[in-house]
Each structure stands twice: as structure tokens, then as C-alpha cells.
């Protein structure tokens, strides 16, 4: 009886795994076929012949390198801003005592429930009309996409870092203070080095979030040379929709950085998800 249920569990797990992994395999296989192979019936999972040049075509059909660079610049800048300002704010909520702190923390938590659409429109109007006051362009540049990350970024990451900081033994900070360290020194020399795991988690999660962001660039970027990979891929779809093999190759390339990051930093990701989930 026990034996039967065991086999049942494995059978189900393997069945589900196939279900979960098939979309990737199907896309990968299509990305390596010739066009007539893509539309062949019955479809085969193993491409024959394997056409690697699809990837070359996908990359050269659009200014792919430019899009990659744009995505990388936006994403990495956002991650940097998120890490620096997110950690500063989180430390303030975790350790420093100031009037109104607990109330503001409650406010921070409740903003997580606020649908982004409520603030999206006035924020767009703000960036649009900032031009009248400053004389420089805001919409059409990366500023509206990047600046929020330097203002604390996403509340969920502030929350995650605060939880971690609260777990660091306060004696270390007290000892450093007696030795004459200032708050910023304690933060920089003691708290941050001890928080490597939490900071990595936040970096990975926010990288993935910004890399996939579609609506932000869609709203704010209007010139093709400023486009991110997500917008570029969308453009590729509308222009070359029929060339499924190129489209699949391009999609896989866009996913590649996230896939690599996923396999390298899976441990941090799992920890991050479970910490925010359980303690939330």
C-alpha cells in the first residue's frame, strides 16, 4: 500500500514536471528549426536539421545589441538604487528610533496593497509636465524608470531587508558605537557586510522584476533607439510575426539572462520568497 502511493507520487511529480518544462522545450526546438520545419505536421521535438543561424538572424534583424545594452543599463541602475536606498531606509526602520517611525512603517506596508494603476497616471502627468518647469525632457528618457528605485524602490524589498537587519545581534552595533563609530559607519562596516545574503536576494529579485518590466518602458519610451529588450521583442513580433523560428530564438535570448541568474542564485531566490511569504 505504502509502496503504491509512493510510486503514485513520483508518477504525478514526473507528469507535472513534463507539463511545466514543455513550453521551454517546444520553444527551444522551434527556435532551431527551418521555417518549413516549424510548420511541419506532425511537429517533431528534435529539429532536423538544426539551424543555429536562426539566432544570428534574430539578433541582426533588430538592433538587438542596442536593446540589450538599454535593458542592462536600466536594470542594473535600478538594482543599484534599490540596494543602496532600500538598505538605508530598511536600517532606519529596523534600528533607529524617530518619532512616527512605527506609523510610517505601517504606511509602507499598506502601500504594498495599492494597485500601481492608481499612481501610474498622475506620475506620468508629473513627468510630462516637469518639462515645463525644468526645460529638460523627462518622458522619453530613462529617468522616470530609474528614479523610483533611488527613492527606496519597492516596499517589499525594504520590508525584506528590515526583517533581516532586525535579526542581526544588536550587541555588535552597540560595541561599535562604544568604540566611537557613527551610525553611517556602523551601517556601512558592520550591518551591510553581515547582510550579504539578504542583499543578494533583493538584488536578484529586483533584477528579474526590472528585466521583465514591460508597462514602464511602454509608457515612457517613445524612440526605438531607447527601447528595452521587452519592447524590442514586441516590435519584432509585430514586424516579423510569421517568422516563428526567429521569434522563438529572440524570445529565448531575452529569457537567457534570467535563466542563468535563476540557476546561479536559486538558493537566494528560494530564501527570499520564503522569508517574505512566511513572515508576511
Amino acid at each position: 500500500m505504502k509502496w503504491v502511493s509512493r510510486v503514485g507520487v513520483y508518477a504525478l511529480l514526473i507528469f507535472c514536471s513534463v507539463l511545466f518544462i514543455t513550453p521551454f522545450l517546444f520553444a527551444l526546438s522551434s527556435s532551431l528549426k527551418k521555417l518549413d520545419g516549424v510548420y511541419a505536421y506532425p511537429p517533431s521535438l528534435i529539429p532536423n536539421p538544426i539551424q543555429w543561424s536562426n539566432y544570428h538572424k534574430a539578433v541582426t534583424a533588430l538592433p538587438f545589441g542596442q536593446f540589450l545594452l538599454n535593458s542592462a543599463v536600466i536594470t542594473l541602475t535600478c538594482v543599484a538604487g534599490q540596494l543602496v536606498t532600500g538598505a538605508l531606509v530598511a536600517y532606519s526602520f529596523a534600528r533607529l528610533r524617530w518619532p512616527g517611525r512605527d506609523l510610517m512603517f505601517l504606511v509602507l506596508l499598506s502601500t504594498m496593497m495599492l494597485p500601481g494603476q492608481v499612481t501610474m497616471i498622475p506620475t506620468f502627468i508629473l513627468w510630462t509636465h516637469l518639462r515645463d518647469f525644468t526645460g529638460i525632457d523627462w518622458v522619453g528618457t530613462y529617468k522616470p524608470l530609474i528614479i523610483p528605485s533611488f527613492l527606496g524602490g519597492a516596499p517589499i524589498y525594504i520590508f525584506l531587508l528590515r526583517q533581516f537587519f532586525k535579526g542581526i545581534p544588536i550587541e555588535l552595533e552597540d560595541a561599535a558605537r562604544i568604540d566611537g563609530c557613527s551610525t553611517i559607519q556602523i551601517f556601512w562596516r558592520i550591518v551591510l557586510p553581515l547582510s550579504r545574503p539578504a542583499l543578494t536576494t533583493v538584488a536578484v529579485l529586483s533584477f528579474i522584476g526590472h528585466w521583465h518590466d514591460f508597462m514602464g518602458p511602454l509608457i515612457y519610451l517613445d524612440r526605438v533607439e531607447k527601447y528595452t529588450l521587452q519592447l524590442g521583442l514586441r516590435m519584432f513580433q509585430t514586424v516579423n510575426g510569421g517568422f516563428t523560428h526567429y521569434l522563438m530564438a529572440a524570445s529565448i535570448l531575452v529569457l537567457l539572462p534570467v535563466l542563468i541568474l535563476f540557476f546561479v542564485a536559486q538558493k537566494q531566490l528560494v530564501q527570499g520568497i520564503t522569508v517574505t511569504g512566511i513572515k508576511g
Partner: protein
Amino acid sequence: MTKQARREAIEGVLFASPWLIGFLVLTAGPMIASFLLSFTRWDGISPFSALRWIGADNYGRLLHQDPSFIKALRNTGFYAMVSVPLGMCAALALALMLNQRVRGLAIFRTIFYLPSVVSGVATSMLWLWLFNPSFGGINFVLHSLRLPEPGWLSDEGTAMWVFIFMSVWGVGNTMLINLAGLQEVPEHLYEAAALDGAGSLLRFRHVTLPMLSPTLFFNLIMGIIGSFQVFTSAYVMTGGGPNEATLFYVLYLYQKAFEQFQMGYASAMAWILFAIVLALTLLVIRSSKAWVHYEGERAS
């Protein structure tokens, strides 16, 4: 206040200032602005002098004269009502299986978790191709099994199910949270229940579920909020079609705001969305007293 306490307070506010400024400029200010905008007619781009105050007209038009809005509301409501429970069950089932001390746990976990990490345009492309009625993999499998082959995204009746299917594919996140919750259930509770003669079903009902209920509660709230946010996949895969069958709420809001530049109208939509999500969240929190069990609390 001592000198030291004052110093700490100043530092505290300084450290928190990025978020405090961000909150004022990017959240609180826009919230008020959005609320006010919802009573106006304005394209958001022309000078402020073009702004017209029209009272509650936007809300009236939305609720009484805009069939597309009602359609979007219904679509999203249906999606939420089906995909959230389905996703919760799938995530729980997967986590329960992985919690059976299976071999290859890390591999299975990776496979189930991966889809929830990838999203955006590329994933939408994958699914668009997979659900292609003539050449996609899904209809090929159905054909081989001699099952009917739906038109999927080209058919009004089935298009929404593609999105529901995709959402279940992305439950890895929720599954991980469940798995962590399951691993925190103390072993001795199961042993005690077994000693009392409880079979596996009873143990699940009286040990696992109550101990996991705070986790499920968290997942439910996050699931509801997330289900009202579908945008990228709908924008890329269907654009809301066919015949508005996949016109999701946020997609319609986007069209009104950034394609037709009816900023006042779209702001009213945003506030209705906020009200709905808030009401549902409060409802779940209210109901939680009846089904969420917190360790250390006396059962009442």
C-alpha cells in the same frame, strides 16, 4: 529628548528620507491627484487650463454607458475567481507531494519554480506559439489523443482559459511558500495525531491545514491582488480580443489612459479597481478569523 535621542531621530529621518520623499512624491501625492483627476476630463498632456471639472460623470459613464468596461470587469472577475482557487490548489498539491521526502527534491523544485520566475513578453511569445490552433504543441497532443482541438486564443469561449492555464503554470512561487510552511509544521503534532489513530486524511485535515492556514491566507491575498494586474500577456497575446473576450481590467485602463489619453476616465477606473481590491482583501481578512489558525492563540 536627550541630545543623543535627538541625534538618532535626525539620523533616522535622514536614513529613511529616500522613501519618505518617494512616498510623498510618487505615492501620496499621485493618490490625491488621481482621485481629483477622476472627476475631470483631461488628456494629461495639454496645459492645465484644458482640464474640465465634470463631477462624478466618469463614474456614471463607466457604470452605465460603457459595455467594454463591464466586459473588462466581468472578464477579470471570472479570471480571478477561477485562477486564484485553481492556483492555490495546484500550489498546495505540488508542495504536499514535494514534502513527502521525495528523492530529487531539488530538481523537482527547480522545475516547478522556474516558470514563475520568467514572465514578460518572451513568455507570452512561448505560449502564443504553444497554443497556436494549427501548429502549436497543445493541439497536436490533443489531436493525437483524438480529443477536440479548440481554437484557443482565436475563440471567444476558450481564450480566457489560456490565461488561466498560464497562471497555473506560474504557481511555483506560491508552491515554494507552501513548502516552507509545511516544513515548519512540528513533527510531534503528526506523531501525536497518529497515536490517536488519525489516518493520513485526518492528519491532513486536522494538522496540516490548520498549521498551514496563515501561509494559505497570505497566498490568497497576494493571489487576489495579482489576478487583477494581468497586463503584459494580454497586451502581447490578444490585445483584448477576440471580441473583448480577454479585455482585462488593467489592459482597458491602459488603453484609455495611454492610447486614447482619457486620463480622467482612466483615473476613475483606477479608483474602482482600488476599491474592489481593497474590499476583497478586507473580506478575506474578515473571514480569516474563521479559518486561519495562529499558533499560540487559544482556539475559540
